[in-house]
Amino acid sequence: MALERLFRRRRAQGEVRDVPELWTRCPSCDAPIYKKDLEQNLYVCPKCSHHMRFPALRRIESLADAGTFEQTTRLKPADPLEFVDTEPYVKRLERYQKEAGRPDAIVGGRCLIGEVPSVLLVMDAAFAGGSMGSVVGEEIARGAELAAQENRSLVIVSASGGARMQEAALSLMQMAKTTLALDRLWARRLPYVSILTDPTTGGVTASFAAIADVIFAEPGALIGFAGPRVIKQTIRQDLPEGFQRSEFLLKHGMVDRVVDRRKLKEAVTRVLRQFVGGARAAGV
């Protein structure tokens, strides 16, 4: 939730950089990068391999087999609490929708991944910091149930600051709802791979993202329960270098592997093919 602001700050910083339009700079090593090259390299810096934010639709293209993706997400947010802080929630939603070009912070549907029939859901951190309200929760639950019904694997790419404050307790309930829906996959012995990207924190980490059969994290992603700012305020100490980054989580046993974005499809395919058991799926 706090991350929403962090993003805005980061983006604003990026915009003041003085580089010609076709070029951009790596926020990590500052190398000038030709934008077309960056896109082709899946938004990973060709010089230092820093993983930048990856637009949700490009993410789908990078994982789904070409031409197989069929979108199923379609829900729109409501404002059940008529929430107003410094600005009404409905106004914020309108702005996020305009900025992100989608109704809420998730997009996904049916596809093949390495020829394995799957449901792929991708969270969009560009929309309200990727926060989970009723729409994200419902789409994930429906995605899991769809996979169970149609005998598909489930792959979820998380990017979220956590639960959405403006839907308050209803957002909190999405943690239980998504977790419960995954049970349908379990009952059918269908695999679920969770991919954690920068950032995955709060109620998303503490629900569906953390209870997959296999968990991958992209390099350098911020992943945790509480945000670093909250922890710093609580303990009144500086946080150790690399704290809550993917490599830290690997070391502490919370994820199976840290996988470079350019190798993710290969890694996901490897897992899905073994679990769906099939010589047929593996093309052997």
Binding site: M1, T179, I231
Partner: protein, 317 residues
């Protein structure tokens, strides 16, 4: 003596005055019944006006008031022969979550809940009711016992939230909360969750996946505390009262949203003013809720819980 809340002060002052006058009248034999009855009427009106129109922020303050029944008070006062079990079998015992075996009017049950301290020293020992991962692992152990021996699982929620610290993150706070939600969701026995005081976010929900969720009248339950919400959205934690209103975190709000199934009434002025009545009300609610669930089989109980949480959320097609 606890420090009274701002809105309680006029009531407490009037109560003191009436008590003094009563004592004086008795000792001196002076007839003050006329004056006393005026004051008593004024007190009743003041109580009705204050307690009948509590703001959400006032309720949050009541939910945090010392003297309010904690999990251990409930386990001692509502159940018989509470027998504590400790440890997560992996790392340590977390005093911020307590649990064990108990009987409720003769029915064997497994119980668990977050435990705040009843004074500063105990609060420090119990980390102000903010569990570490080992606390949730202990809770999951207890859920395993409930399933294995087919006994209802009853959880009491009273936490500002799961502890946000370095060691908690290192040991997978998010992971255990997710696992605990999943474990409780999978119970094949009746599961009841009761929010006693504070229901702070995922750290509360981790033991909140009941077939029925009950809440004490002045408890709160939301995705974030009003202070943290205000710090983020208003950029000022002092706007917590506004955040409490916006979050609609009170028991009546939650009942309306379907997030809780039943509000347990508190005596006038809040649970801390009369813990015995509060516990009696809680016991009645628990017995009635258990009776509602007693005819459901193991799979029906799971599906009932699935439907309950699956249906929560508001969106447009």
């Amino acid at each position: 003596m606890r420090v009274p809340l701002e809105f309680e002060k006029p009531i407490l002052e009037l109560e003191t005055r009436i008590a003094e006058l009563e004592k004086y009248a008795q000792e001196s034999g002076v007839g003050l019944e006329g004056e006393l009855s005026v004051l008593r009427e004024r007190l009743k009106k003041l109580q009705d006006d204050t307690y009948g129109n509590l703001t959400r922020w006032q309720r949050v303050q009541l939910a945090r008031t010392p003297g309010r029944p904690t999990t251990l008070d409930v386990l001692g006062g509502v159940f018989q022969d509470f027998f504590e079990l400790c440890g997560d079998r992996t790392f340590s015992d977390d005093p911020a979550i307590v649990g064990g075996l108990a009987y409720l009017e003769g029915t064997p049950v497994v119980v668990c809940g977050q435990q705040k301290g009843r004074d500063t020293k105990e609060n420090i020992q119990r980390n102000f009711g903010m569990p570490h991962p080992e606390g949730y692992r202990k809770a999951m152990r207890l859920m395993d016992l409930a399933d294995r021996f087919r006994q209802p699982f009853i959880a009491f929620i009273d936490t500002p939230g799961a502890y946000p610290g370095i060691s908690a993150e290192e040991r997978g706070q998010a992971w255990v909360i997710a696992q605990s939600i999943q474990r409780m969701a999978r119970l094949r026995v009746p599961a009841i969750a009761v929010i006693l005081g504070e229901g702070g976010s995922g750290g509360a929900l981790a033991i909140g996946v009941g077939n029925r969720v009950l809440i004490l009248e002045n408890a709160w339950y939301s995705v974030i505390s009003p202070e943290s919400c205000a710090a983020i959205l208003w950029r000022d934690a002092k706007e917590a009262a506004k955040a409490a209103e916006a979050l609609k975190l009170s028991a009546p709000d939650l009942l309306q949203l379907g997030i809780v199934d039943r509000v347990i009434p508190e005596p006038g002025g809040g649970a801390h003013r009369d813990p015995a009545t509060t516990l009696a009300n809680l016991k009645t609610a628990l017995l009635e809720t258990l009776a509602e669930l007693k005819d459901l089989g193991p799979e029906e109980l799971f599906e009932d819980r699935y439907r309950r949480f699956r249906g929560l959320g508001v969106y447009a097609e």
